[in-house]
Symmetry: C2
Subunit: 203 residues, 2 copies
């Protein structure tokens, strides 16, 4: 692991962020890279910074994206309890807990994020209630006391805000978003290109 | 050519539409398919129907898309006189001529579109003046009298409008956009997936 890690941003409410999370670590490892996972809030970037509508309520594009996601899932053999067409949950509680773990118990951050994404998309669990977030922590082997702090410490909110502001300052606006040696890649359908980029050293 | 043709929509002002136009016919031919080229006006779909901002003036995304396009061009060895960061031309004159040719001189429509795209993106020519449109017609071997009609017949405008309305009715919102046996694909970075889809018969 002598080369710089890959930075990967995702939002728990982003279906393409979820499916990318299932593959990016393996792709990176194949090329001797680690992946640093980061939270992003697409509600902030898309609505406030970019001034756009929510993707799924954008005429024409919402329908298209749903079909594209379902095609992606068929191709990769993913059977999810949650549909891309389901109403969004509030991502703040789980993103705050994730940001807290990154800062205060970093060894637990990634297992927690994986378990929470799995609970939300694969199992269909809404993560906007504390019990569901604690259950994801348990599934990931995070000590209960640590999860309790992650969901109750008022410092979690400014930690998340700092993460999101830092991401925006680097140009990050969506989920999944990757920066590799300064080069940005947006979207789950960039994973093949990322693989080729890492193999060849870029172009 | 016993299978249904692929429908392909593009706007002359769309850089990703241009680069997709360079590859879609070869990909289709490899799988025994023809391609039907259609005009779309992304100014209408993006701004009016979808209610979004112009892509290149969307904060964060504009910068990202420019980098993605330049990376695409490096990968595919494209050296273009026009940059994605250049101001847009008015696409209506050339799209109207294209729509007229599709209806009244269909054998010339595709050669004209290819020559016009090449003039605009490869050579950096603005196609919002009649002389430039006629020059693209000449380069494509379209008789001068035919081009004169294509750029002066008042029926060109309603023909284009009908094409765009028909496209929107089918869900088309961007450039490039493809429909293959009822399945929609958006973006130049879907060409590899389209190739795989045609090879395998879909999934």
């Amino acid at each position: 692991m002598d080369r710089a890690p890959i930075d990967f941003w995702f939002d728990f409410i982003s279906p393409f962020g979820y499916v990318a999370s299932l593959r990016i670590d393996d792709i990176a490892a194949r090329h001797g890279r680690e992946v640093r996972w980061h939270p992003i809030l697409i509600g902030v970037t898309v609505l406030k910074v970019m001034g756009l509508r929510p993707l799924m309520s954008t005429p024409l594009k919402g329908d298209y994206i749903a079909r594209e996601f379902e095609r992606y899932c068929r191709k990769h053999g993913l059977r999810l309890a949650r549909s891309i067409r389901d109403p969004l949950m509030d991502p703040l509680p789980v993103q705050r807990a994730f940001a807290w773990l990154i800062e205060h118990a970093s060894e637990h951050a990634l297992p927690f994020a994986r378990a929470a994404l799995h609970a939300h998309w694969h199992d269909g669990v809404a993560l906007d209630v504390e019990a569901a977030i604690h259950a994801a922590g348990s599934a990931a082997g995070v000590p209960h006391e640590t999860m309790r702090e992650a969901t109750s410490d008022p410092r979690a909110s400014p930690l998340l805000r700092a993460e999101v502001e830092g991401a925006i300052a680097r140009g990050v606006f969506g989920s999944p978003y990757f920066i590799i040696d300064g080069e940005p890649f947006f979207g789950a359908d960039k994973l093949e290109e990322i693989d080729a980029w890492l193999r060849s050293g870029g172009w």
